[in-house]
């Protein structure tokens, strides 16, 4: 039968997954969580010069429930941490977190009492972008990595989106 399993899923299941992934990968709606100067670079990447719309991300979703990709651009202070966690919790699966810039990845230069030392202490992060701040090209590459990751995801066989590795 066509549905019988070989290499994981059957023919219909894999083709259906391919179709879902094809639909998802070119319309990642980002949730722009810009808290510092990285946010300026993110705006720059969204605007005409770099034009994130080329990858389908032209619709920044300010409501977490409609967003696919959380772009954390900037420092998260411990005062802000609960609000950030709550925004993440409201996003629907499958969701992706891009940690943009040194502050979001590791706390950056702010090794202080008030700064969260990397948002991965709070939420699972899919893609890290180093830089202080990273150039818009780096954010675009992160979007391409999101697309690559989406192509590999298995929404029907229910493998967790966050378990998949990106890159080589």
């Amino acid at each position: 039968m066509a549905t019988e399993a070989y290499n994981g899923g059957g023919w219909i299941a894999t083709k259906l997954e391919w179709l879902i992934n094809w639909g998802r990968k070119r319309s990642p709606w980002p949730l722009p969580y810009g808290t510092a100067c990285c946010g300026i670079e993110m705006m720059c990447a969204l605007a005409a010069g770099y034009d994130m719309a080329r990858f389908g991300a032209e619709r920044p979703s300010f409501s977490p429930r409609q967003a696919d990709v959380l772009i954390q651009a900037g420092t998260i202070t411990l005062k802000m941490a609960p609000a950030f966690k709550r925004v993440y919790d409201q996003m629907a699966e499958p969701r992706c977190v891009i940690s943009m810039g040194a502050c979001a990845c590791s706390g950056g230069v702010f090794r202080t009492y008030s700064t969260l030392q990397g948002i991965d202490k709070l939420v699972p992060v899919d893609i890290y972008i180093p830089g202080c701040p990273p150039r818009p090209e780096a954010l675009l590459q992160a979007l391409l990595m999101f697309i690559e990751k989406t192509e590999k995801s298995q929404p029907i066989t229910h493998k967790k989106h966050s378990d998949l590795l990106v890159g080589t």
Binding site: L78, K79, A81, P82, K85, R86, R111, T112, Y113, S114
Partner: protein, 190 residues
């Protein structure tokens, strides 16, 4: 008339002036802590002074002020050397340790004035200025948050920058920059 003379004329009769320093054209007045509200009312309402704008309010911790500074080792021809120099003696902790500084501005004449209040560690309470200037609300909360100086009579003396359960006062000089391992417990019931 000179600003210094005007301030002296205004505050002098009530013995409100503890010290007065003029540095680089900026006048700074130290006043007794218990009478800070009266002083501010005088400075605001006296014609000829009219400091009607509180531009900032801040705390100072003088803990390390009297500590001897580390001198860079002088290089002599013999190499390391120069250890015979006597180190300056530690004068001990400064008393009083804290200050609250009020920065006033007269919008009419564009004059500025610093008013200082010294705060002992044993009595960390200053009268609030919120009845005089509404603008003192948040800066006083910030000073309370960062230094633990309480403002008596403040309508809403909560932490401003740190979260409510934060156990320390982080801008004190004896507080390490990286914190003391305080953890933020996320609470969704709020």
């Amino acid at each position: 008339m000179d600003l210094k003379k005007r301030v002296e004329q205004c505050l002098g009769p009530n013995n409100f002036v503890v010290a007065m320093i003029e540095c680089q054209g900026d006048l700074s007045v130290e006043v007794p802590k218990r009478s800070v509200v009266d002083v501010m009312r005088l400075l605001r309402d006296t014609s000829g002074l009219g400091f009607d704008f509180l531009s900032d309010l801040l705390g100072v911790d003088n803990l390390d002020l009297n500590k001897p500074k580390k001198k860079p080792k002088k290089k002599t021809e013999e190499g390391e050397g120069a250890e015979t120099e006597e180190e300056p003696k530690d004068k001990g902790p400064v008393s009083p340790r804290y200050e609250v500084v009020y920065l006033l501005l007269c919008l009419e004449r564009n004059e500025r004035l610093q008013v200082k209040v010294r705060v002992e560690e044993s009595d960390m309470e200053v009268d609030t200025l919120t009845p005089v200037w509404k603008a003192a609300d948040w800066p006083e909360r910030e000073v309370f948050d960062m230094f633990g100086i309480r403002f008596k009579g403040h309508p809403n003396l909560k932490r401003l920058l740190m979260w409510d359960d934060f156990p320390a006062y982080p801008l004190r000089k004896d507080y390490p920059l990286e914190g003391q391992g305080e953890e933020r417990h996320l609470n969704y019931d709020d």
